[in-house]
């Protein structure tokens, strides 16, 4: 079995929940030069486009999804004045209120951390092969947010 590097832990698609505290610490521990940390946490809401949602399931393209998250981290590190970026997304069944996605960016200063964090989640939604099925009273619906 391949040994997972600390760098590999910074980009993951995983079935289970994640600990925000542990992930925040993972980023903070990367450098004592970090002076500002920005975070985006996406959670499962109980309505979408005018209908109720009882739960959801995320499907991902194993391999390509991880590759795209890695690209996002590397481009963020290259294009923004930041020190570290963590990008996690869950797959499988997720109940209302649970965590879905987590972006944490550490930088020397807050402005760069905020900008990079927003860019990471926007880019994730554009280029990462992940799909969402919502369970609603009207039936199961595959969501199409980016046609």
């Amino acid at each position: 079995m391949a040994v997972e590097t600390e760098e590999g832990r910074l980009v993951r698609v995983q079935l289970g929940n994640f600990s925000i505290d542990e992930e925040l610490e993972r980023v903070r521990a990367r450098s004592t030069k970090i002076g500002g940390i920005s975070m985006f946490l996406g959670t499962a809401r109980d309505h979408s486009k005018g209908h109720d949602v009882s739960s959801m399931t995320f499907e991902h393209y194993e391999g390509m999804a991880q590759k795209k998250l890695k690209e996002i981290r590397e481009r963020a590190l290259q294009d923004f004045d930041i020190i570290e970026a963590l990008v996690l997304h869950r797959h499988g069944p997720i109940e209302i209120g649970e965590n879905i996605v987590l972006i944490i960016v550490g930088a020397q200063h807050r402005a760069d951390a905020f900008q990079a964090c927003q860019w990471c989640i926007d880019e994730l939604k554009k280029i990462t092969p992940i799909w969402k099925m919502e369970y609603t009273p009207q039936g199961d619906v595959w969501v199409e947010e980016h046609p």
């Binding site: 996406g42 959670t43 499962a44 809401r45 995320f58 499907e59 991902h60 393209y61 391999g63 390509m64 999804a65 590759k67 997304h89 879905i100 996605v101 989640i121 994730l124 939604k125 554009k126 280029i127 990462t128 092969p129 992940i130 799909w131 969402k132 099925m133 595959w142 969501v143 199409e144 947010e145 980016h146 046609p147």
Partner: protein, 84 residues
């Protein structure tokens, strides 16, 4: 014979399967695969022609002229919906 992976809502267009076996001729390109899929699965073919569904080859988004081989990892990707 190439294996074509399907994700998300696309499986509902092809009787719930998540992999299609498609024959490839020598020198085949993505557009040839799309044409063959259109014949067998018109609903799926329509989405491909409208570019609402994209083709990936070896985990990179492909163009219609991208060359294909049986050993390639080919997938059809409907619009992404990750995030929250």
């Amino acid at each position: 014979m190439a294996q074509v992976k399907l994700f998300g809502m696309l499986k509902t267009l092809v009787a719930g399967v998540n992999v299609l076996d498609m024959p490839l001729s020598d020198g085949a390109q993505v557009k040839d695969l799309v044409d063959a899929l259109h014949v067998q699965y018109p609903g799926l073919g329509e989405l491909l022609h409208q570019k609402k569904v994209v083709v990936s080859v070896n985990q990179e988004i492909a163009h219609w002229e991208t060359a294909l081989a049986d050993s390639d990892e080919i997938a059809l990707l409907p619009p992404f919906a990750g995030g929250a």
